[in-house]
Subunit: 467 residues, 2 copies
DNA sequence: GGGTATTTGTCCGTATGTATG
DNA sequence: TCATACATACGGACAAATACC
């Protein structure tokens, strides 16, 4: 315990008394916990640049008043004071109250959850240990601002083979999560741009753009994704799209529409497409479509990806692939930003990928999610006459739309009464006009066991069908 | 190896040929490394949703043309192709060239370096292992956006006792480095503010502010730090200051000036002080002064700190303490941002602090840096008649100003000729008028052994005194 | 796991400035 | 004017407990 006592040597008050008063207050206000050790007289004296006997006198005073105890050869320790206990209890009461507010659900179909039970802990631990074991001092020094080159190469290789992305490691920028990367990107694109977004869309990205002062224009989608006429009409320079699996609608943009998007981008010199390749790792039906980035021959696509869904949310690593013209702009405008991901973590991830664990993990998760996905679909079969289903070919959630006029709010409320949490689509609209008419809810299944999925479906049937 | 082949079933080109062409190109361009295994015909067929015989035909073609080899029961493997070696060599040549550009120095007095040899690897490794060992699935789920509460409490306790900062954990925001936190902060303060900065100053912060569209106004310092008349005249709303140890000048702002700064802040309703408590951990002379934040009774100081210097740059953890009024603004405007620091890393750091290792480490580093500091000062003693020294009471570097008219450029150049790298002060000025007249250089010593410091000093003496 | 270096409270001698008689 | 007492501040010596390798 180091102590920062503000000492005024000009003051009339003796030094030892200033120290004594400060520590006494800290103890009384609970800032110094009972039982914690104070710095030794020597250390305190050295820190505060006073004589040892000064600190000694301060301690003697505290000792005689019972604030602290002395143990020879061990140190001075703070005593328990009754009055402070009351304050502490008040604080914990506030905390308990906060937790109480949350409703308890039997089954939570959160679309954000991911299956953590299947996380390869042992592998991660092993790699982590090995990374630190060769006392690799390099690991603790400042690294590449763009991210470790080796990791960028590994990501580039993966993106190429799995997603058809074409890029060199120099185009890849690694950062702590997609939100941060969007912040960075928004600095590159210029101030106060017009950005077209699908509606509904990924709200976090919307918030980032708004907060950076950009003008966000919601663009309606048809069943193939963002409508081009509306995009053209929006007069936006930048379009943020999720072609592989639109969030939250689950729409997969077909090749034809992608080509149209690209030619839209080519028609303006300042136009860019931001491709958020959300949830592309998991699809259950239909042919895989390579990333938009791989189809782009004009350097207009910014590709964004993350390991949050495919590995774990706590692994805060995302990446973006900049087209060539933006790379030099990045160097100039944001190249000085230190990497936001710990070098050690980058190394662990690098090993995880290059040793083949990532792919194995993905394959395993695909099988697991497929199982849950099928369980959910069969569980919801009986709802068919009343609901239409959407987005069931990919990702980690499906959409249910009530066909007989029940509103989203009613659906969520009825489900909640039955102990099931489902999520309204309206949260994802960025245009307030739309969200009132919604009668669609999202059901995520990643974080649930097949058993829970079944149970949830049964409860939902009761809640929504019996009237 | 997963392969993403863009397949067009409408095309005249047979499917197997599309696959064959794609893989062939990948091999020729080196995107598929020699020796790497291709997915089996079954897996490929499943991935691409084509028949197995289609993938089989594609592979047969590649096989017959010598691009791949088949090993029964093991798989298909990419052959070595000579032409691609050339491309690879070119790439590595570019890399080598880059490194060549750097002049090789015998001694590098970098002001950014820190001593990594003394990093407690064993402890870090142990904590890291323990964090992962109890298969704590929680650790891999998404955590608190502000940072883990436990860590925030630990940081709050430390800041209070060591720096005199008064705050609750709710005021602390943890993020991946100070630059990121400044980005976040700049969103809270409003668009296009006027920010006063000391001149010279920490260039990274300057760049962040400029990039966010703020107007940065350089304010001159006297020997006590930022001059208040000039600050007042600047009409800025926000002042970014480093009172504990101004970078790079090393000026320690006395209490009187701090009070003046605070009352400046109180005189305007929108005024804020950003206190970057840079290098506050290390000081060698004079009484410690508590952080500005601890003196602030009006909620106008934003305190910023980092573990980059005190632990290791690769540990990308920084924090800021917001005054109460900004906390609610943060919740509203930036609360949705996920934490940029991995939860696991936060837990490791939490253990490191609460188990007392952080303090022990700091004490140890203080002693080590004191030794290096003294070695440098005694090594530079003979330069005294020609140079004045600055900033030698704190931090990890000192300033040398030539008194007989040698310019900074000459000093750097002469030193470089002798194999010693020193750093010109002009890099830190944000006002271009100032930096021409500089005859001051920075000498950092954190990353050097005492032996190297001695050697560097001897070389500098030769370089600068003999003429 | 065992031995050494460091840290610790305690005790003690000293120096300085001020008030008192 | 001088002697004394007291409060404050400084630093060394010692044995035991602890930390570190």
């Amino acid at each position: 315990m180091e102590l920062m006592v503000p000492i005024d040597s000009q003051s009339d008050c003796p030094l030892y008394e200033q120290i004594y008063e400060y520590i006494k207050n800290d103890i009384r206000k609970g800032r110094l916990e009972a039982g914690s050790r104070l710095p030794s007289t020597r250390v305190l004296a050295q820190n505060l640049k006073v004589s040892r006997s000064t600190s000694q006198m301060a301690y003697d005073q505290l000792l005689s008043e019972g604030y602290i105890e002395a143990f020879p050869c061990r140190g001075y320790f703070v005593c328990k004071i009754d009055e402070l206990l009351e304050v502490k209890q008040k604080e914990t009461a506030v905390f308990a109250q906060k937790k109480e507010e949350e409703r308890s659900y039997q089954v939570d179909f959160s679309p954000r959850g991911i299956d953590l039970d299947s996380f390869p802990f042992n592998t991660w631990r092993k790699i982590s240990r090995n990374t630190l074991v060769d006392d690799n001092k390099e690991m603790f020094a400042a690294g590449d601002t763009q991210g470790e080159r080796a990791l960028r190469m590994a990501i580039g290789d993966y993106l190429h083979s799995a997603r058809g992305v074409n890029c060199s490691p120099e185009q890849i920028i690694i950062g702590a999560g997609n939100e941060y990367l969007l912040l960075l990107l928004s600095r590159l694109l210029g101030r106060e741009m017009s950005i077209a977004m699908e509606n509904p869309t990924y709200k976090q990205a919307y918030r980032v753009f708004c907060g950076q002062g950009h003008k966000v224009i919601p663009v309606k989608m048809d069943k193939y994704g963002m409508e081009l006429k509306r995009l053209e009409a929006s007069r936006a320079d930048i379009a943020y799209v999720m072609p592989s699996h639109q969030y939250p609608t689950g729409i997969v943009m077909p090749v034809a529409r992608r080509q149209e998007l690209l030619s839209w981008a080519y028609r303006g010199s300042r136009r860019y497409l931001i491709e958020d390749d959300y949830d592309s790792e998991f699809r259950y039906k239909g042919k895989p479509i390579p990333a938009l980035q791989g189809m782009d021959m004009g350097g207009r696509v910014i590709y964004m990806g993350t390991f949050s869904n495919s590995i774990a949310p706590a692994i805060r690593v995302g990446f973006m692939v900049l087209p060539e013209p933006l790379v030099s702009l990045y160097r100039e405008k944001a190249g000085f930003f230190s990497s936001t991901v710990s070098r050690i973590d980058q190394h662990i991830l690098y090993q995880f990928i290059t040793q083949g664990y990532y792919e194995r993990h993905l394959n395993r998760m695909r099988a697991i999610y497929k199982g849950k996905h099928d369980a959910l679909l069969s569980g919801l079969k009986e709802l068919e006459p009343f609901f239409s289903m959407g987005g069931e070919y990919a990702g980690l959630h499906v959409l249910l739309t009530h066909l007989k006029g029940m509103t989203e709010k009613q659906l969520v409320e009825k489900a909640a009464e039955a102990g099931v949490k489902v999520y309204g689509m309206s949260d994802y609209f960025i245009d307030t006009k739309e969200n009132k008419s919604s009668s669609t809810v999202l059901l995520g299944y990643a974080n649930l066991s097949e058993k829970d999925i079944d149970r949830g479906c049964r409860l939902l049937k009761k809640a929504w069908l019996q009237q």
